[in-house]
Every structure is written in C-alpha cells, then in structure tokens.
C-alpha cells in the first residue's frame, strides 16, 4: 500500500515537529537544480521534491526550463533581505512521538502542540 511506503511514513511521522515536509530523498538531482530554494514551485513524489521552476526568477530564466519552458508568469517580487529569517536547526536526532529511546542524547521528540 502507498501509505506503508517509507517516504510516506517518514513524512507523516515527522510532520508534528513543524519543520516542514520531511523528504525521504532530500538530495536534488544536480542536472535539474542544486538545492531547494524559497520561491520554488513543484511537487513531492516518492519523497523527492520535483522543482518545476522558481517564481523569484523570470519565467524564461534558463534554470526554469529544465522540465520545459513554463507559461508566462509575473515574477514574485519579494525583498529577500527584509522578508527572510535565517536560523539554525540544531544537530541531533528528530523522531516521532510514538518511539522510545534509550542511550541517546540531543534528540528532538515530535509532540502535539498541546503537549
């Protein structure tokens, strides 16, 4: 069943951590893009993020043509210096709430908001 696939279980189980969509296959295919970026439009399939194009770039930017030239769109005009917060995600282990742990430290347990 699709729900039993590791990429679905992984995404579902880590979502209560509120760090976003956990990708089972996090590394991009380099010939398509180097890294996921703010403004990317795409979809997740089997734990992999497929980038279609990035709307902070012009519609006909070369990097937006990897899957085919997009239809015209008006670029999203945002100021990255004033509207993007940078922070650190602490190293350690992140795991779902129904798991138990022995002999580990620096871990982050998924919890419901009211817990």
């Amino acid at each position: 069943m699709p729900g039993d696939q590791p990429y679905n279980v992984y995404r579902e189980q880590l979502s209560p951590l509120y760090h976003g969509n956990a990708l089972w296959e996090p590394s991009p295919i380099r010939r398509f893009y180097d890294q996921v970026s703010i403004g990317d439009v795409g979809y997740i399939d089997e734990g992999f993020f497929h980038r279609m194009f990035n709307v902070t770039l012009e519609w006909n930017d070369d990097s937006n043509k990897k899957l085919g030239e997009p239809d015209y769109y008006k670029r999203l005009d945002d100021d990255p210096f004033n509207n993007i917060r940078e922070s650190t995600l602490a190293k350690g282990e992140y795991y779902s709430r129904n798991m138990s742990l022995q002999d580990n430290t620096d871990n982050h347990h998924a919890k419901e908001p009211r817990e």
Binding site: D4, Q5, P6, Y7, V9, Y10, Q13, L14, L17, H19, G20, N21, A22, L23, W24, P26, S27, D34, Q35, V36, S37, I38, G39, D40, V41, G42, Y43, I44, D45, F49, H50, M52, V55, L67, G68, D71, Y73, L76, D78, N83, I84, R85, E86, S87, T88, L89, A90, K91, G92, E93, Y94, Y95, S96, N98, M99, S100, L101, Q102, D103, N104
Partner: protein
C-alpha cells in the same frame, strides 16, 4: 536504541542545519491564488504526473544540511527497533553505523563526505517548510 510500536520515523543530523523562512507569507498566499491554476494546467500539459492542484507547493522555507541519516518504521502492527551511531566529521560530513535492527525499518544516509561544502551552507534539504496550495 530506538523502539517503535507501530509507525515511526527518525532523522539524525550530525551537524547543525541552516534554515531560511519567509516571515510575511501573505504576499505568497496571494501569489499562489493568482497563479496556481495556470501552474497546474502547465504540469498537466507537461505530463508531470501531478494529480491534484493541492499537490503543488510553493516553497516558503527550507532547511539545508551537510549530512543526514533517515529511518522509517513502516509496520503499523509490529514493534521494531534500530540503533544508530552518528559521527560528525570536521569537513561537514558524517559517518553512520546502523545496528541491532529488528523488524521492517528501511533506512539510508548521506555519503561520508558532505553533500555540499559546509562553507556555502547549502547542501540539501531534509525538510521543507512549504506552503501547500489549497
């Protein structure tokens, strides 16, 4: 050692991740509303396999790391367990040792070397804060 009664998941990061988030998302929400129909039509035209409009994502945040290990406890009815020792390497990479595996626990990890130069802080993404189009 990690034990799970039913489904579970584990992500191990030997090094801090670098996170970026859009602070004011209203502009992005409006932008999605104005464009999502044409994005979906384009994905259909290109036969990308996007089944529903709400499957499209506009990324408003992401976390980039240089090494990682991931495991999924996929069996809903069985108890499973696994041990993981993660060693952070000075170059940003990581070394991972999986052991004492019991049950169905698919797992994998990044290679020994960092996925990208840690100096540029842009290796890859274990999680993406994304705005799901509704």
């Amino acid at each position: 050692m990690y034990k799970s009664k039913g489904r579970g998941a584990l992500l191990s990061l030997p090094h801090d991740g670098h996170r970026k988030d859009v602070m004011r998302t209203k502009m992005y929400e409006d932008y999605i509303r104005d464009n999502v129909v044409s994005w979906f039509e384009w994905s259909k035209k290109m036969r990308l396999g996007v089944e529903r409009m709400e499957d499209l994502i506009l990324v408003t945040g992401c976390t980039l790391v240089t090494s990682w290990a991931a495991a999924a406890f996929v069996d809903q009815s069985q108890e499973a367990e696994i041990s993981l020792a993660a060693q952070a390497l000075s170059n940003g990479g990581g070394r991972f040792y999986w052991s004492r595996i019991r049950g169905n626990v698919p797992r994998h990890n990044s290679p020994l070397d960092p996925v990208r130069s840690p100096r540029c802080q842009c290796s890859f993404l274990p999680c993406t804060d994304s705005y799901l189009v509704l």
